[in-house]
Symmetry: C2
Subunit: 152 residues, 2 copies
DNA sequence: CTTGAATCTATAGTCGCTACAAGTTTTATG
DNA sequence: CATAAAACTTGTAGCGACTATAGATTCAAG
């Protein structure tokens, strides 16, 4: 693995990886990408391998992996000879979380739909939306939306 | 509307509404609930109407409404004679957001499933999960997971 | 050499809480 | 009534993953 000469500025790096310079500096601060080499004047300069690394990071983040998970995935992708069990475990765990979020979000959608569809458009006093929000008993499923906050 | 005498402590209030005392104080700080009356010693005491208000808040939050949306919903539920168009608008808007989140989360799940199922369990070097994360082109849908971070 | 874009650091803000620390008040028991 | 335990008080900092701002500096193009 030969490093390419570090000629890429933080702006171009960010653009090519699909994020902002601030995010790159943030990733440097938390150690997701290493310290960049600098120009005499102190500006960061990167080589192609950092573009690849940052692209990997952004892609994994787009998949919803947490920064900690990305950190582990990065560490593993740096060890090509190791078995990929752990990679698989992380991805499978994440998939399970996504599936569980989907279920709850879907139940939430059903409740919201029901609520909205029952609003007759009169006064607030008799608005079904307000009524449902006031009275948990009017929900079909008690568990449906307990903790929607975690769903984003 | 007669106010009940304020005898309920913050702990009982929180328990009855399904949150924590810290959350109640937080809601007071941001103005979702008004300032409570106090004992001589300075402790907060509440009446039943606050239990109802806090329950409404928690319920709306469980439905995934933002605090700002809850603020508006509260303001409207305080005006029973007004038409409920705005209530409906807020709820419908929220429903649309939930539906859009669902679509993206569902596409994300499909990609994750595909990725995980293609992992043959060998070395990291040839792990499909790492490959997909390294190369956006291997995704079926480019849009599928662009911004999963917002999905929770 | 000048201009303007890009970059630098440091810090604070976002959202909606949650957690802690160190002190005070209330309530229950002996 | 004394004591202990529970609940409460304020203030502040932390979470995750950035994002935004300010004010200074550096770089690249003409």
């Amino acid at each position: 693995m030969s490093e390419s000469s570090p000629t890429i500025g933080i702006g171009e790096l960010a653009r090519r990886a699909g994020c902002k310079p601030e995010t790159v500096r943030y990733y440097e601060r938390i150690g997701l990408v290493g310290d960049a080499s600098r120009t005499e004047g102190g500006q960061r300069r990167y080589g192609e391998e950092v573009v690849r690394r940052l692209t990997f990071i952004r892609h994994a983040r787009d998949f919803g992996f947490s920064v900690d998970a990305v950190r582990e995935l990065l560490a593993m992708s740096d060890q090509p000879d190791m078995p990929c069990q752990e990679v698989d475990a992380i991805a499978t765990h994440h998939l399970e979380e996504v599936e569980s979020r989907l279920q709850r979000l879907s139940a939430l959608r059903d409740e919201l739909r029901r609520m909205v569809s029952q609003c007759a458009g009169g006064k607030v006093e008799s608005c079904r939306i307000i009524e449902v929000l006031s009275d948990h008993q009017l929900c079909i499923s008690e568990q449906a939306h307990g903790g929607a906050r975690e769903l984003g």
